[in-house]
């Protein structure tokens, strides 16, 4: 006669599973790396002469080894940098009627500042001893200035914010015609093209 196999007691299964679950809950770190993306300029052949940029179309941000800011030859606090950059980019100083006239700029239209956002170049010069924290903070403020202006134009033309739309498309959560939206994003980018130049850092202590 065959003996009936005794049933395995599964009552403690839940306990074991809970234990494992808690272990994985504790060790899990759902990491999402975020950061400021940049495209580095390719190395140019030395024969090419650098393009000439008018003094007034150049916004020079200088960071020294003690993390102090010198913007257009004036000492500045980091918190004022964003506004200064916005004022510079949005200036639109070219006279109306000229081909370079910027009809969407809302700035002061001072003839001594940038002609239009397409011409305006922000140049950041670092010392080798500048701290990386400060470097990122400056980059962050400058990107914020561009984002502010792009948001403003996107809201005026299409009724949504540039940064939010960009994020939605990147995350794949955007519902609707993605190609059309991307085209609009590019149009906005053309209105305020990101022109951040970085000089090769000077040797230390200068």
């Amino acid at each position: 006669m065959r003996r009936a196999t005794p049933e395995v007691n599964a009552g403690s299964m839940a306990d074991i599973a809970f234990l494992l679950l808690i272990f994985f809950l504790v060790t899990t770190t759902i990491e999402k790396d975020k950061g400021i993306a940049r495209q580095l300029p390719p190395i140019e052949p030395p024969t090419e002469a650098p393009p000439l940029i008018k003094e007034k179309n150049l916004f020079i941000v200088n960071v020294n080894k003690d993390d102090q800011l010198l913007v257009e030859d004036n000492l500045m606090e980091l918190k004022d940098l964003r506004q200064a950059a916005i004022a510079f980019l949005d200036n639109g100083g070219a006279p109306s009627g000229s081909p370079e006239y910027c009809n969407y700029c809302k700035g002061a239209r001072s003839p001594s500042s940038s002609d239009n956002p397409d011409k305006a170049v922000i140049s950041v010069q670092n010392d080798r001893l500048t701290s990386y924290k400060m470097y990122i903070a400056v980059q962050n403020e400058l990107v914020a200035a561009y984002n502010f202006l792009r948001d403003r134009e996107a809201e005026r033309l299409y009724g949504w914010k540039f940064t939010e739309m960009n994020k939605a498309i990147n995350e794949g959560s955007f519902k609707g015609n993605e190609d059309a939206a991307k085209e609009k994003l590019e149009a906005i980018q053309k209105l305020f093209p990101l022109k951040l130049s970085e000089a090769e850092p000077k040797t230390k202590g200068q």
Partner: protein, 157 residues
């Protein structure tokens, strides 16, 4: 109309817990799948700077470079000068290129051309080290970079 008559003897029936293990297992598998055990052992201090104008990094096409002062337990051997780490070991400026090439070959072949170089650099590092790295990347024609940051803003504190 006995259908609608209330049952007598209002004792609360015990909740059936027979499916509890199933639910717990389901959760368990979810967490097992999403868990990534840290694969690189950090040799440098890595207190990332704060920024809020950020974009997300697509992890499948990223190569990481860490930089900063050596961690406290390595400082006796390696000093306190900023160091670069790729993979599991310290790398000198000259050999970044080959180390990156090695890391890039581990990615999916169709993504190797779209590679992003993710810079995880400690906030206290000198910018000079970062620009040295960027110069090498330019020579290697790896032009897409991303400075990894933590959420927040340097101004608010």
């Amino acid at each position: 109309m006995s259908k609608f008559k209330k049952k007598k003897g209002g004792e609360i029936p015990a909740v059936n817990t027979a499916s509890l293990p199933d639910i717990v297992f389901m959760l368990l598998f979810f967490f097992m799948v999403v868990t990534v055990l840290r694969d690189t052992n950090l040799l440098v201090q890595n207190q990332l700077p704060k920024a809020d104008q950020v974009e997300k990094l697509k992890k499948d096409r990223a190569v990481y470079i860490y930089a900063g002062k050596p961690s406290s337990r390595y400082q006796e051997v390696f000093g306190t000068e900023g160091r670069i780490q790729i993979g599991d070991k310290y790398t000198s400026i000259e050999s970044i290129g080959t180390a990156l090439e090695e890391a890039r070959r581990k990615l999916l072949p169709e993504l190797q051309d779209k590679v992003y170089v993710a810079l995880k650099v400690d906030g206290e590092t000198n910018t000079g080290l970062v620009s040295d790295i960027k110069q090498v990347l330019r020579e290697r024609n790896l032009l897409k970079i991303i400075y990894i940051t933590t959420p927040g803003n340097e101004l608010s504190n």
